[in-house]
Symmetry: C2
Subunit: 198 residues, 2 copies
């Protein structure tokens, strides 16, 4: 099933075709593909080149995958069990440059997962990110130090059929993708004043 | 000047070629291109589809560009004056879904600027993001409400020659791009334990 974005202006096909499926086929993702996906994260820009991103990655059948699954809320466990790859994104709270709390580490980590998503799409794979997991449980299970923070969980895999999902998820899978038009969020002169671009 | 990432594993050309120049040619960016760039932001994924990103965008010669320039630290003003487009990224702190503080709005906004950067690269343009600006000054100048937060500033334009920059910037422009290897940030089983992928 494809759900291309209903764009008002043309965008790159990898951005247009991107969405967050809950159904994944049973196919595994090979090591070389995952190497390229995390290499893409490596070249993310970051404030002062601090590179605050860390990832814990599990593939189905290994202990790490099971441990990440344990951190997910029940709602996400129900579909994420199909995903061949589960990962956690983690950020370093303190800047390596000046030893002070970073104002942008969460932002930088967000960008690194966008890089992962873009590379995954390029490899024919899809990513589904989740806020619904316990960062505290993740910290306990994986011994995450105090100056780091688990931010999101995400699944990577080959998109599957909605039929693989339980009834309510199958319906959500088929629902249309919606976004506010750009005129609602691109401003000039003053906050809330729509830019002449839109 | 090109500075392709010295990758250990092949990644998408738009990620490999991406870097953050400080020199921009005098060429303006046309309206249609900017429409596509912010449409790319529109289709970013976000927690609960909250779409917490807002942008203030100025083009050189207009009042908004001057106002954004005022918010930059002096270091950034010195090179950003070459940029035909200056923008601020702003995030909504409160989730539209449940009215509670969002744990991921900064992360989501980071992803939206990554989308902007991919689309800009696809259009032959480069983006330079900046943490070095005053969010407080931005809030005053643009009347940003309290439940929103300015997160970064960024420049968009056609990459220029290092010769257009003052001496110390010209040297920085030519310096090599560096990143920790993926084995330093991709873990399994326990935080800090390098994944078998690397």
């Amino acid at each position: 099933m494809d759900k291309p974005a209903k764009t008002n202006f043309d965008i790159h096909p990898l951005l247009k075709e991107r969405w967050s499926p809950r159904s994944f086929t049973g196919q595994m993702v090979d090591k070389e593909t995952l190497q390229r996906i995390f290499e893409a994260a490596r070249w993310t820009p970051s404030s002062s080149n601090d590179q605050p991103w860390r990832f814990i990655v599990g593939t189905k059948g290994d202990k790490t995958w099971d441990m990440i699954m344990e951190t997910l809320v029940e709602f996400n466990q129900k579909w994420a069990k199909l995903a061949p790859v589960l990962a956690l994104s983690i950020g370093k709270k303190i800047s390596d440059k000046n030893g002070r709390p970073s104002r942008t580490f969460i932002y930088d980590v967000g960008q690194s997962v966008a890089h992962i998503t873009f590379q995954a799409m390029h490899e024919g794979l899809f990513v589904h990110q989740m806020g619904g997991f316990s960062a505290q449980k993740a910290a306990e299970i994986f011994n995450i130090p105090e100056d780091y923070q688990a931010i999101t969980a995400f699944a990577i895999g080959h998109k599957g059929s909605p039929d693989l999902l339980e009834e309510n998820f199958a319906e959500m899978e088929k629902s249309e993708r919606e976004r506010h038009p750009a005129g609602d969020f691109v401003f000039s002169k003053s906050f809330g004043n729509t830019s002449d671009l839109f």
